[in-house]
């Protein structure tokens, strides 16, 4: 699905975040990317989304190089990225409106774009995510959890094959966060979405990611990957296996921050 092939990336004249860095994922996998602040977690996501370009090397998704944002990739951000001047309903239709605006050009919208009943699709997601009753409110009028649900609906209504999530639950309270984490896992099993979740919480990484990619604060040359047998299950926090895994990740993060 994703192939990151020997990429180098740096901001301006700063030390490179990635140098000759390669990494790949399979279709339908859920990945969690974890690391200290400034290690390049969000940068990696923006590179995968086609919003940033590596200086050297390339990123391929389904064997096609990513030169700009691809219509089949969905991106969900921590601050929701909702338009403050549009109601939740209009925010959710935004991607479909853009597709109609550009037409099936293959760049901004898929070539095989079908004429679709926008209202039907949007209403279905509004119902499924439990925000139908606040659909005509503006983002500033609803809770953080409802905003994030709207951001998720806006992405899913476009039927992406790859979901990129940049600390999407970081600013939510614990019950809302758990609720949305379960929603992401449910969508993953239901739709076989490939997803990459950036997080700074070890527990979240272990709960969501079948595989965990740890990034270092210095330049990343090689990916450090941990297989996670606890993805999608809520093990007793006292269980030895769970403790060993989280302890290992914690140790890796400590080392990578030094």
């Amino acid at each position: 699905m994703i192939q990151v092939a020997s990429i180098t990336f740096r901001y301006g004249k700063q030390q490179p975040i990635f140098k000759d860095f390669s990494w790949q994922t399979e279709t339908g996998q859920t990945w969690a990317v974890i690391g200290a602040s400034g290690c390049g977690k969000s940068t990696l996501l923006y590179l995968l989304a086609g919003l940033l370009q590596p200086a050297t090397g390339q990123i391929l998704i389904n064997r096609t190089a990513v030169a700009c944002p691809r219509p089949q990739t969905g991106l969900i951000l921590q601050d929701y990225g909702l338009l403050p001047w549009a109601t939740l309903r209009h925010n959710i239709t935004l991607g479909l409106d853009l597709r109609r605006f550009y037409g099936p050009d293959g760049k901004h919208s898929p070539v095989e774009m079908m004429p679709e009943d926008i209202n039907f699709k949007v209403n279905r997601w509004l119902d499924q995510l439990g925000i139908a009753d606040v659909a005509d409110k503006y983002p500033g009028q609803v809770s953080g959890g409802q905003r994030q649900r709207a951001a998720i609906a806006r992405t899913l209504v476009l039927e992406p094959d790859l979901l990129l999530l940049d600390e999407p639950f970081a600013s939510l309270d614990a019950p809302t966060r758990e609720n949305l984490q379960n929603l992401v896992l449910h969508l993953h099993t239901e739709r076989l979405l490939t997803s990459v979740l950036v997080t700074h919480t070890i527990e979240e990484a272990v709960y969501i990611g079948e595989r965990i990619l740890i990034l270092k604060q210095q330049t990343n040359f090689k990916p450090r990957i941990i297989d996670n047998p606890y993805a999608g299950i809520m093990p007793p926090v006292q269980s030895d296996g769970y403790q060993t895994l989280t302890g290992m990740i914690r140790e890796e993060l400590r080392e990578s921050a030094q």
Binding site: A49, L51, T73, G74, G81, W85, L98, G140
Partner: protein, 247 residues
């Protein structure tokens, strides 16, 4: 602000005017009711024609300034490189009181309709340009990232992000500068013209010494400014409802 409060303020001002008029007891301050009566008689006749001439000049300047300043502000707000070139020029020109340019504009463009419209345009243009540029520059990169990830290119960003984000700034700029624009309108209508409220007020005040009609002209000019201010505010509420929603 509630309409009820506005009504009370209006009645209070009329009362003050009436008291001053009774204290002064001279032709130069006729009582408000007499002025209002003359205003309603004149507005359907001579005064109405002058009102329309002034209204046309302000609306033409407004349309021209929005059409030119809003896109320019959007482009400068989006492009740091272009803004770096133009920012010092705007920085120097923005604070200059544009009214001092009246003679220069008249020398270059002549004493005609165009020079009057250009003068008001200059005032509105800089105000809209600066506010729109600043608004476009502070749009959060995360918002742009998220809309770009939905498939928006430059045109899509302009339509769905930059324009709606800057619309309140355009309407705020219009509201803020409407008072100055009408003041300059008065000045440019004093010079070699026979149409417009400025001319009407000056004619009745300094040539015909008919102060009641002069005050009727002042009311018409005030209503022009107030009407445009309220129209801009109404448009703001109509076009940018999200800014007036309670959480």
């Amino acid at each position: 602000m509630k309409r009820f409060h506005l009504l009370w303020a209006f009645l209070g001002l009329l009362l003050l005017w009436q008291i001053f008029s009774m204290l002064v007891r001279r032709d130069i301050l006729p009582p408000p009711l007499l002025v209002i009566r003359v205003f309603f008689t004149e507005i359907t006749g001579e005064l109405g024609g002058h009102f329309l001439a002034s209204l046309w000049r302000v609306l033409a300047s407004l349309t021209l300034s929005i059409a030119m300043a809003a896109p320019a502000g959007l482009i400068l707000g989006q492009s740091r490189r272009l803004d770096a070139y133009f920012s010092p020029v705007i920085y120097l020109l923005y604070p200059i009181p544009k009214v001092v340019l009246v003679p220069i504009v008249m020398l270059f463009l002549g004493i005609n309709e165009i020079s009057k419209i250009v003068m008001i345009f200059l005032i509105l243009f800089f105000q809209i340009l600066v506010l729109v540029r600043d608004q476009a520059a502070i749009i959060r990169p995360e918002l742009l990232y998220s809309v770009r990830s939905l498939g928006a290119g430059r045109r899509g960003l302009f339509k769905y992000v930059y324009f709606p984000a800057c619309l309140p700034a355009i309407l705020t700029a219009v509201r803020q500068s409407i008072g100055t624009a009408v003041a300059v309108l008065y000045i440019v209508e004093l010079i070699a013209t026979t149409k417009g409220l400025g001319y009407y007020i000056y004619l009745y005040g300094t040539t015909l010494y008919d102060y009641t009609n002069m005050y009727a002209g002042v009311i018409a000019m005030s209503l022009l400014g107030l009407g445009l201010y309220f129209a801009a505010e109404w448009l703001h509420r109509k076009l940018c409802p999200w800014q007036f929603q309670k959480p």
